[in-house]
């Protein structure tokens, strides 16, 4: 038996080593290094060890930079809008698909989820053509309803919205599936008891379904926030931050600052600002989740 104990002790190391070690090496250590770099001036051409310390200068510079501030604002607008639109939509569609007795609804669920598994680069490319003002189908559909052709990605006013719609199309199915999973956890007798008490469908939804979905809802809000704050691919592919910085977002700005301008200090500061936003939001939302359950 003593032998056995020694055995598990050895295997604790052998089994944990690769998984946990690689996470430490490629996630934890780089986070610390990014924090470190954000207090230095560095163009990556000089050795890491000799980069000069500049204190908070990088942070002061990015917060004085209208381009970064625009990127920060766009990122927040994009994320808030995504949560505000996708969450109710996922709830609505999820509750509908879960309850409907219409045949074929599981095929609809498959169709809805499908965009989530394909590369967002491919999605961006395809939507670029859908939005095309002259050759794209969207403006033709609008013309059926006598709505004038829209510039979509070409307009300062519509470009960010167009990216939000694209993201909505790609990800709403994923959040819907989470809603449906939440619904299957609700015991059916709650509804039976409610209907015996004479509750209407709406009352049952309002007082049983929505409160019991709070866990799923909080999870969706957290993931949706984290994911939309790091939007990059559609901006890189479709707008390069334009027109006139109207779709510049933090990760895109950071990428350019790092790899086009080789300003690693400022790029790292940008990373840390956004990472902090994500952390704070995640902690707040997790608190809410803990209270809900």
């Amino acid at each position: 038996m003593k032998n056995r104990l020694a055995d598990t002790r050895v295997f604790t190391g052998i089994y944990l080593g690769p998984g946990v070690g690689l996470i430490a090496l490629f996630v934890v250590v780089p986070i610390l290094l990014t924090a470190w770099v954000s207090f230095h001036s560095w163009n990556m051409l000089t050795p890491f060890a000799t980069m000069p310390y500049v204190g908070l200068q990088n942070y002061r510079q990015i917060f004085g930079d209208p381009v970064f501030l625009a990127a920060l604002r766009n990122t927040i607008v994009y994320s808030v809008a995504s949560v505000a639109i996708e969450l109710p939509l996922a709830l609505l569609i999820g509750i509908f698909l879960f309850n409907t007795k219409a045949r074929g609804s599981h095929w609809v669920r498959t169709a809805l989820f499908l965009p989530y598994v394909i590369p967002n680069v491919a999605v961006a490319i395809v939507w670029g053509y859908l939005y095309s003002p002259i050759y794209g189908p969207f403006n033709i559909v609008l013309s059926w309803f006598h709505i004038p052709a829209q510039p979509w990605l070409g307009s300062v006013h519509e470009a960010l919205m167009s990216l939000i719609i694209l993201n909505l199309w790609q990800t709403v199915g994923y959040y819907t599936v989470i809603v449906i999973a939440g619904l299957t956890e609700i015991p059916q007798d709650y509804y039976e008891a409610a209907s015996i008490d004479g509750a209407t469908k709406w009352q049952a939804t309002r007082h049983i379904t929505l409160p019991l979905l709070r866990r799923a809802v909080t999870f969706i809000v957290i993931i949706l926030t984290i994911n939309s704050l790091q939007v990059f691919a559609p901006v890189y592919i479709l707008t390069q931050g334009g027109p006139a910085n109207s779709t510049n977002v933090v990760v895109y700005d950071m990428y350019r600052t790092a790899f086009n301008f080789l300003n690693m200090g400022q790029a790292s500061a940008m990373v840390f600002v956004l990472f902090l936003v994500i952390l704070v939001l995640a902690v707040v939302e997790l608190r809410l989740l803990a209270r809900a359950s």
Binding site: D7, T8, V10, T12, Y15, P18, G19, L22, I23, L25, V27, V28, V29, P30, I31, T34, M44, I93, F96, T100, K101, A102, V108, A111, L112, F113, L114, P115, V117, I118, P119, N120, V121, A122, I125, Y129, S132, Y135, P137, W169, I178, A181, G182, E185, R215, A216, I220, I226, Q230, A233, Y236, I237, M254, Y255, A258, F259, M264, V271, F275, L279
Partner: protein, 278 residues
């Protein structure tokens, strides 16, 4: 009356199902139909809703414009290796977190879970520097290595393995099985659904990656499919080549689409597990 009402309610349900399906499927339809158009038809105004003379011309072109076949091969090498690596490391670590006892286990597990919240852009700058210094730019190692330790995988495997009865493990140990045998001969054969779920997630996630490959790959020979699509888009931003770009996109999404349609119940289960039971 109530029969009519019920009938109309049912038909409203079908109308909504129809609307959701059309919106979900239309971009796919447009992608495929554009890819089947000839370079003349793609320029038609107003655009045709379907390819009147469907042709595979765009598909043969896309393999000439960029090294698309090579990119597909690269993607399979990178995605396949990373997926296998994720499965192995996750099963091992998941087993320890589910069945072993040691001091600090809960803290370590929480720390691992916390890294799930770390977006990949946070580690980009130092990781690039690191792989650049090791001369591993344009190398499979740079594409594969940072992805193998996977917190989500460890979490998923721990959840599944925790559900396996302890007696099964004890019985094997009494029969003299080593810890190595217990994990790979006793536990792993019971993990079929977990392996399918994690394998799928890992495959799709790795196949779709963009930011990291974009950063560590420069030469077209090392492009993954996603990078090839990106370069295709920038070569050919004019509508004239829309059919070629769309053909590339169709080929690029095919593996994920096929895997998903074939194994979707594992996908749905994985999503449900992360969202609800987490």
């Amino acid at each position: 009356m109530s029969l009519i009402l019920r009938g109309s309610k049912r038909s409203w349900a079908y109308i909504w199902l129809g609307v959701i399906t059309v919106i979900s499927v239309f971009p796919f339809y447009w992608m495929v139909s554009s890819s089947l158009k000839t370079s003349k038809e793609i320029m038609a105004l107003p655009p045709h809703w379907w390819a009147t003379h469907p042709s595979l011309q765009a598909y043969s072109t896309v393999f000439h414009v960029v090294a698309f076949a090579r990119a597909i091969g690269n993607s399979f090498v990178v995605t396949g290796t990373a997926t296998l690596g994720i499965l192995v490391t996750s099963i091992m670590a998941g087993y320890v977190f589910a069945k072993y006892r040691f001091r600090g286990k809960e803290t370590l597990f929480t720390a691992v879970l916390a890294t799930m919240m770390v977006p990949s852009f946070v580690t980009l700058v130092p990781l690039y520097y690191f792989f650049n210094r090791l001369n591993l730019i344009d190398n499979y190692a740079a594409l594969i290595l940072p992805n193998i330790g996977n917190a989500f995988g460890i979490f998923l495997m721990r959840q599944f393995i925790a559900g396996i009865p302890q007696e099964l493990i004890e019985a094997a140990r009494i029969d003299g099985a080593s810890e190595w045998t217990v994990l790979w001969r006793v536990i792993t054969p019971l993990l079929g659904p977990a392996i399918a779920t994690l394998g799928l997630f890992a495959f799709v996630f790795q196949w779709n990656r963009f930011l990291w490959p974009l950063t560590v790959v420069n030469t077209p020979n090392m492009y993954t499919v996603v990078l090839a699509l990106n370069s295709l888009e920038s070569y050919t931003s004019s509508v004239k080549f829309a059919n070629v770009v769309m053909a590339g996109a169709v080929v690029g999404i095919l593996p994920s689409v096929l895997l998903f349609v074939w194994l979707q119940k594992y996908f749905i289960r994985g999503v449900a597990m992360t969202g609800i039971k987490g």
